[in-house]
Structure formats: C-alpha cells, structure tokens
Amino acid sequence: MSAWYSVLAMGFGYLSAAIILLIVVISIRKTVKDRGIWKRAAAGQRQLEYAGELVVLGGGSKRLPAGEVLSVPYEGTIGLASGCDVVLSIRRLHLRAAFFWVEGQRMYLVPVQREAIQVDGEMLRPGDEAVMTTGARITVNGVSMELHLYESPGLETEKLEYPYVTRARRIQAHRGRGSGIGNSGSVRRKEKGRKKAEENPER
C-alpha cells in the first residue's frame, strides 16, 4: 500500500503541475484578451470612463487652442496643476480653481478661488454652485468652453451619497478659504478687507 501510495502521490504531483500550468496559461490568455476587448469598448464608448467633454471655443493660448476637446470625468478638480482632473493651461489661473461633479445629466461646478469664471455670462464667486447641462458655456479668464455631457442611460448617480463634496467644504469655499490648497490666506484677507469696506464705506 505504501509503495502504491508513493506512486499515486508522485503521479498526482505531476498532474498538479500540469493543472496549475494549464490554469496559468488560460488565465493569462483570458486576461490579455479581456484587456483588449475592454480597451476597444472604452474607445468606442467613452462614457464608461468620462461623463462628458469641454470643447474650447476660443480665447485660448497655443497650449489650449480653439477646438481642443478636454475629457471631463465624473468628479474632480479644474485648474492649472497637472494633478487636476481637467487641466486648463490658462495664464494666471489658480492651481486648483474649482471642483466639480456630475450627477445624472447635470454638472455641478464650485469655484474655490476668486477666478474670472463665468457660466453663460454669469460671474461665479467662490462657493457658488453652478448647475449646468449640455450646451452650457464656461468662460475662464477669457477662454470660453462649451460643455457636452454624454448620455448615460440608466445611471442613477443622484441617489448615491458619495463623499466627493461635503457641505463643510462648500461653506469653506464660500468663505474664501478655498479647498485648503493654494494661497488661501491671501484670499481670506482680501475677503475680510472687502467685507470691512462694505460695512464702513466712509473709511
């Protein structure tokens, strides 16, 4: 029995090596194939990754010419910094000028700095919440862009309570404290000065 068992155990050892080799080969092939399909799917259907796009209409620089299309993810920040989700190469723009998120077929934009951000001609102040639909025109420091949101049928993101923008953060932005990034101190001082000037116009 012992000898038979040894033979069987050795045989099972070789069989196991063959089985795991087969599994590894199948898994690698499937992973590579699936990755290719996903790539094609994502290329054919951009709403899998992005919520929409911003089309530069005019007033831009060499780095941001008219006709340039910027992909807009479902949430993130807009600014000059390369770490932003939507990078706008516009002179004198703050590193993180605004944050945004997309719910359903609407995009919410909240500036955190005192930038010259206009939406359909209306000037936004830090903390103002602009709710935009497809076709809205955003102007940042003279560069105008048009928003196009992809159709994403069946997505009910409105119900979700994701923590991308909290109430506290909106209030903070409204007070001119920004998102805690950048020169928030100078903004706060300017805001205080402006309030004081409004309260005591004689001085």
Partner: protein, 491 residues
C-alpha cells in the same frame, strides 16, 4: 447648503432663433434605406463573402466590440476558460482529498473524503453560478477557489483535523464574500458605514490586550465565549480599507485626510503594543500606497516612508525578538536549533521538494514550526515541487493584475481607492510571507492569503475579494446598461 445657487439650462436661444421658432417647419425628404448593408452583414456572418469583401467588413468593424464579447465581459454568459479552470479545480480537489484520505486512513481522513461533497460543489457554484448572478469577475473567483483548494488539500494531508475545519472556514468565508460584494454594490451611505467600521474596528482590536494571552511573542489572539478564538487584526483590515478609501477619496487636503490617518495610527499603536509587527507593517505600507494614489504627493509620501524606516529602526532597537529575526535572516545557521530552526527547516523542505515535489503526504512537513499557517508555502513546495510553487505565486500576480485592470475602470475615486487598498494589502501580505519563507526578507508572522490555516485570515481575505467583486459588479451593471439597444457602439 451653499448660499447661492444658480441654474444654467444650456445655451440661450438667440433672437434670430426665437424669430425662426414660429416659422413653418422645414420639410425633409425621407431617404429610402438601402437593404444592401443588411444583406452584406448576413452574407458575412454566413461566410459567403469573398476574401476582399470579408477584409472590408473586418476593417469596418475593427475597433468595435461585439455584443457576444460584451456579454462575456459583463458576466452574462459562461466563459469557456473559466469553465475549464473550475473543472480543473474540481478535479484537483477531488483527487487530492481522495489521496489525503488514503494517506491518513483514519476517521479524520474519512471525514476529508466526505468533505469532497462539500468543497467541489461549493467551488463549482461559486466559480460558475455566482459571477452570473452577482456580476462578479469570474476569473478572479475561479482562481481564488483554486488557491483555497490547494490550501485545503495540503492541510487535509498534513493535518487532517485542521484541513476539515478549513473547509468549514472556506464555506463561511464564501458567505462573507457574497455579503461584502452586496455591501459594496448596494451601499449608498459610506459615511455611516465607515464610521461604524472604524469604531467597531478599534473596539475589537484592543480586545487581545485585555483578554488575550502571550503566544509566540505576540498577544494578537483573543478567545471569546460566543465567537470563539480569532485574530482581530485580520478583521480590522476591512475597517482600515474603508476608512482610507472614504477619507482619501475626495477630501484631498491633508487635514481632511486626518481621520483616516489617525485611525490607522491608532491601529498601529495597538498592534505595536500587541507586538504584531507583521500586520502593523501591512497596515502601514497599504496606507502609504493608498495615500500616494489619492493625492500623488511625492514629498509627503517619501516623508511617510522615511517615518516608517525610522519606526523600523526604533522597533529593531526596542524589541529583542525583532533583533533575533533580523539576525536569523542574515545567518540562520548561527543558531540552527534555536532562532534559525524555522527558516532552516523551511529552506530544507523547499529544496528537498525539487522541481516536481516529493508527492502529496510525503516528506516531513511537521518538522517545520507553524507548517500549517505561516510556512504553508514551504510545505506546498516540498509536496508539489518548486515549479508548482512558482506558478502558484504567478496566480497571485494574475489575480492582482486582473483586479488592477478592473479597478482602473472605476468611475468614482472612492471605489477606486477601496480597490487599490485591497490589492495593496493582499499583495504586500503575500510578498511579506513568501519573502520571509524563502529568506528574501526578514520573517514576519503573517499568513499566506487563501492557503494558510485560520478562520480569521480566510474570512478577511475572502472579504477583500468580495470588495473587488463589488467594484466589478458596479462596473458590469453600468456596462450592461449601455449594451446594444441602449446606445452602445457595438455590432
């Protein structure tokens, strides 16, 4: 609520547009649709087209994804490779448990024989049926089942009692995995869930300090009347993952990240008091990885890494058993019967296994201390061979690489960070224990995911796989909603 809210409803209508609005609608001439393309597609599908025409059709459809392919990706259709892997796993488990029963030839061994009827159907159902119902990733599920199967077969051979208990842990863990998948897929209030997990996590993490006993230089186990014996630090991994993902996801300032960082630091302090340095290292490195992915701040990440190195040096100077482990890692032969015994026995077992192993149940695995949990990789290499061991590690890499591919398609930063944290934690744990066993790095007392004996370890690892499945499920549901007929770009 913000002080001011403005609603902009798209582009304004120009004056010219308003004037034209009352005018008569232009009449369009309806163009007759040609039947030629439909006929050509039919011919192409039937294979009746000539070579040149087929080439044209193929180039026209190049870059598109067929509906059948999308059904495969979204888990709506059974995939042949996954079916093959599930069957191979079932064959491996059945034959392995039969051999294990023949090897022991005792009552306990006969129990393993009966367990075939539990583990094989469980594996098949979870690999083939669950991904279709719950939109899980079928490949990750099938590979996880294979890893669990390898662990169970090995345990049933070297320690039948533990093997049988491991099958029960596996069954319970599958349930936990399903629950975690549902939680990640359905949950809408992450804030409350994270807070609950943080409070509960800290509460159970301090239990060993109060009720635990010192065992192998650490006090990380606790035995409670109802729950039995378990390792809280394994379960708290899930709390850490949720806390990191929630507070790092969009609260990107350092101050807003603080709750998660403070929670992790509190966990690390408790783990240091318990002297569970291996788990503390996993927590710490995972936090660093998630922090870097969340904010991309290299100076702060390097500062954190530097702090970790400082803490490691401090730990080396403070704890005597860390000094011993480092010394044994450098030269285990300096104390072959004492501190270096574990590593020497593990290395001997790996080398004696050779390329194809000594055979299931052969060799002397019981000579290695902790052969059923920390050193199970050495036992597997001894019994199945070094080739099997290397391929086993490759399976871990495939699972993690596949998970990263899936996570990258996540639409929200929260789910993305949750996924990356999970991958980091599983990857770091696997690297630490494998590296420790083969003497690549100093040995740390952590378990090998899915293979080692232990309910807590199996539970936490399967819960992590559940998190990955939850993220996949969300994406697959979204992808399914954009399938043909709903505006998708497929043919």
């Amino acid at each position: 609520m913000p002080k001011k809210e403005q609603v902009f409803a798209g582009r304004k209508v120009s004056e010219a547009g308003k004037k034209n609005a009352g005018a008569e609608k232009p009449v369009f001439r309806k163009r007759e649709r040609s039947a030629a393309p439909a006929e050509r597609t039919k011919k192409w599908k039937a294979g009746e087209l000539t070579g040149r025409e087929t080439f044209r059709e193929k180039s026209r459809n190049k870059g598109r994804v067929s509906a059948a392919e999308m059904r495969l990706l979204t888990g709506s259709r059974l995939d042949l490779p996954v079916v093959v892997i599930a069957i191979l796993t079932a064959v491996f488990e059945a034959l392995g448990l039969l051999l294990a029963a023949a090897h022991t030839r005792e009552t306990v061994g006969m129990d393993s024989l009966a367990m075939i009827w539990v583990i094989v159907p469980l594996g098949l159902v979870s690999s083939l049926l669950l991904p279709r119902i719950m939109h899980m990733d079928a490949l990750i599920m099938a590979l996880t089942n294979f890893l669990c199967g390898v662990g169970i077969v090995t345990l049933c051979t070297v320690s039948p009692l533990r093997g049988n208990r491991q099958i029960l842990f596996y069954a319970v863990s599958l349930g936990v995995m399903v629950l975690m998948t549902l939680l990640v897929t359905r949950i809408q209030r992450y804030h409350l869930l994270t807070l609950f997990l943080m409070v509960a996590g800290l509460a159970i993490l301090v239990l060993p300090l109060i009720f635990g006993k010192w065992n192998n230089g650490a006090k990380n186990w606790v035995s409670l009347p109802v729950l039995g014996s378990f390792q809280p630090s394994e379960l708290v991994k899930i709390s850490v993952l949720f806390a990191l993902a929630y507070y790092f996801s969009a609260h990107r300032t350092f101050i807003q990240m603080l709750p998660a960082l403070l929670f992790t630091i509190a966990c690390l302090i408790v783990l240091m008091l318990q002297r569970d340095l291996g788990t503390a290292l996993i927590y710490y490195l995972s936090t660093l990885v998630v922090f870097y992915i969340a904010c991309g701040n290299i100076p702060l990440t390097l500062l954190g890494a530097g702090g970790g190195v400082g803490a490691a040096i401090l730990g080396y100077r403070m704890f005597a058993h860390v000094k011993v482990r480092v010394a044994m890692w450098k030269n285990p032969w300096s104390d072959p019967t004492g501190g270096g015994y574990q590593i020497i026995q593990a290395l001997l077992a790996i080398s004696s296994g050779g390329l194809f192993g000594m055979g299931l149940g052969q060799g002397t695995p019981e000579k290695i201390p902790a052969y059923y949990n920390d050193f199970i990789f050495a036992v597997i290499c001894e019994q199945f061979g070094q080739i099997f061991g290397v391929l086993l590690l490759l399976l871990y890499v495939i699972i993690l690489a596949r998970a990263v591919t899936l996570i990258n398609r996540s639409r929200r930063s929260l789910t993305m960070l949750l996924g990356y944290g999970t991958v980091a934690m599983l990857g770091i744990q696997t690297f630490m224990i494998t590296g420790g066993v083969i003497k690549l790095i100093p040995l740390t007392g952590v378990t090998m995911p899915f293979l080692s004996y232990g309910g807590s370890s199996m539970l936490s690892c399967m819960a992590m796989i559940g998190i990955l499945h939850g993220i996949t499920g969300k994406q697959q549901v979204e992808t399914k909603e954009s399938m043909p007929g709903k505006g998708g770009n497929y043919h």
